[in-house]
Symmetry: C2
Subunit: 391 residues, 2 copies
């Protein structure tokens, strides 16, 4: 990882990625948890709204496993609306008339921030599996560089769902003075055995695909699309509740009146899953999927702090709002409750809301009025304490 001192930033940009948004090239290497120094590296990010004069109105949004920095603009590949466009925008909960929103693609990602599909300048080839294994804390360390670059000493709020929530917790634990308010949604302070198991199935599906080529598919001009699609399908089931699947699809047949007596997608739920799998491969990199799932598996905030979760938050002054969903079986309420107990043990300022919904883990991405109302109330209270405009 010893790289030449003078690197042209343009070398870090891939010619096929003429995507909108900002790029920050960080020249000073980043010390990673695995012991390697990574650098220079690129952070791709979006901002919305205006940073106020005393730089006190910034909200950092942390994205989930397959998310990206396009919170409130169309995705440059799929053209779908931003993944949190229900939440972020003028007069929405994350109000761009008041707040300056920042969202960066995570380290290891595939939407502009340095990850395994990028060129390792030392070899001139894509990193692939020679990319260092990164952790959630490494992602947060990279984000800290960006926040410093923007001249922001303290973020008004760090917010995110699922793996985004893990980053929120890591921010509050690692940089407590830089976080005024922290909102982990549908998340946990460590990845459970069942979640590791589901991730392992996804990784095995990718690595079983001969087009994965031991990770070197980019060099080979191939793409492990079938394996990645299977990984996505398996994961997607875990994002929904059984009730939501039943309500959406039940046993309804897809464009037919009787079964085909074969292995076509007879049922709507099969057709839906196949669609989820096949569209995902157009926008996501298989090795990024390996690296980011691994970062989640390794996440165990208590273990990083001598085995005691309250120690992670000791002495911090951040205000927490912990949110879970009743039908989320991937990050169940019990995980949020454990987190709240630890925050209480650390004498933190914390509110906890379990939201009744049948939408499963994905509820944090969907139109969920109680989620919006909860966050609006929490942010207003925090804004008042922080001396920012509020309702």
């Amino acid at each position: 990882m010893n790289l030449p001192a003078a690197i042209e930033p343009s070398l870090l940009k891939r010619p096929d990625e003429d995507w909108p948004g900002h790029r920050l090239v960080v020249r000073e290497p980043l010390p990673l948890d695995c012991g390697i120094d990574l650098g220079p590296f690129t952070i791709a990010y979006q901002t919305y709204g205006t940073l106020n004069a005393d730089r006190s109105n910034a909200i950092l949004i942390c994205h989930a496993l397959t998310g990206d920095q396009y919170v409130a603009d169309p995705h440059p590949i799929t053209r779908h609306p931003g993944w949190w466009s229900t939440m972020a925008g003028p007069r929405l909960v994350l109000d761009t008339d008041r707040y300056f929103l920042i969202c960066a693609n995570v380290l290891g990602g595939c939407m502009g921030t340095t990850g395994p599909k990028d060129i390792d300048l030392a070899t001139g080839k894509p990193w692939a599996l020679s990319f260092p294994v990164i952790t959630v804390r490494d992602m947060v360390r990279a984000q800290k560089r960006l926040v410093e670059h923007l001249g922001i000493e303290q973020l008004f709020c760090v917010i995110g769902g699922s793996m985004g929530g893990m980053q929120v917790l890591e921010w509050a634990a690692t940089y407590p003075d830089a976080v005024f308010a922290a909102v982990p949604v549908a998340s946990a302070a460590r990845h459970s055995a069942q979640n590791i198991a589901f991730h392992e199935v996804g990784r095995q599906a990718i690595m079983a695909d001969p087009d994965w080529c031991g990770g070197d598919y980019l060099e080979a001009g191939r793409k492990p699309a079938r394996g990645l699609a299977v990984a996505r399908m398996a994961a997607h089931i875990t994002y929904l509740s059984e009730a939501a699947l039943h309500r959406k699809f039940g046993r309804n047949l897809q464009d037919r009146n009787t079964v085909t007596w074969g292995f076509d997608a007879d049922f709507q739920v099969e057709s839906y899953l196949r669609h989820q799998g096949s569209t995902f491969v157009d926008r996501f990199d298989a090795n990024s999927y390996l690296y980011i799932t691994r970062a989640m598996d390794y996440f165990d905030l208590a273990a990083e702090h001598g085995g005691a979760l309250p120690a992670a938050f000791a002495g911090g002054k951040s205000r927490f709002c912990v949110i879970s969903f009743t039908s989320d079986w991937l990050f169940p309420t019990s995980e949020s409750r454990e987190l709240v107990h630890a925050l209480n043990a650390a004498a933190a300022n914390v509110s906890f809301v379990e939201i009744e919904t049948d939408k499963g883990h994905d509820a944090f991405l969907l139109h969920e009025p109680e989620l919006f109302a909860t966050l609006r109330g929490f942010l207003n209270g925090c804004a008042e304490h922080r001396g920012l405009p509020h309702d």
Copy 2:
């Protein structure tokens, strides 16, 4: 499917399957739900205990998706003890000193009963995907031929877990006079959207494997081992509860003190899953996995009876014992409860027990004392009514 009238039974036996147990070659074709007549076909089965003089002490055991007829003998490939050897044997719940136990490999299976890996006599090649799609009712129709062959007019009991329970329900609905007592364990009267979704992931994993060869892997001398292993891994997670996974593995590392910063099986749960996947492919056929999962997906007992589940059981005199497990999220108690409501609506004789356990769906295969006690009590009561020896 029009086959020559005179078939040498030996032609239906595969040379590589010198496995212990009985083989019945059924010459009269079986009319399948898909409209095709299948025949001749083989049923491979095991029996334990002795049929009494009036042939009233027979218990038919129906196996689950990846089960087989080796209930209480070592599996001929893995050498593991029979899958229900805790349940079936002298003085056990399914007491071979009192009862005559029968278990047949299901139609479409790969342990001796005719399935997609067998030779289609019309072409001289393995059936592969030209094997007709079968249903749970077809499996039961095939079993009925065996029971008739054994000269048994009425089974004392039909019992099974998971897909075995689906067969139990199909027996009670299709041949009510042939079933004195019926015990569906950890089962449902129809396959849910979530369960169809998990099956679809497994099928896509198999069909994504280039060694699947469009189903013709046997002819090609190949084996879709990686795809089948991934399918098994995904399914296996659904057989366990999160609590069981947490208790067994938690976040424990496998034979190491620190993570490897790579994609080896760092965690015990990963190692366990990989082992489950890789050993499964030694004993199971990938196309059988496709056909049997499809049969489960198609299972909807109410739909077979004009949309009303009670109609499936109308007029029947079988006694039912419905059993579910609190931590089973694949076939949750709510499914058993719906079944019980329908049985009540049909004025059936039914008892229902939900067993408190954290072992998940797999509880029906494990040492579960309350399951044993429940079944012992139910079978004793039934034996008394049937005039059989009882405690």
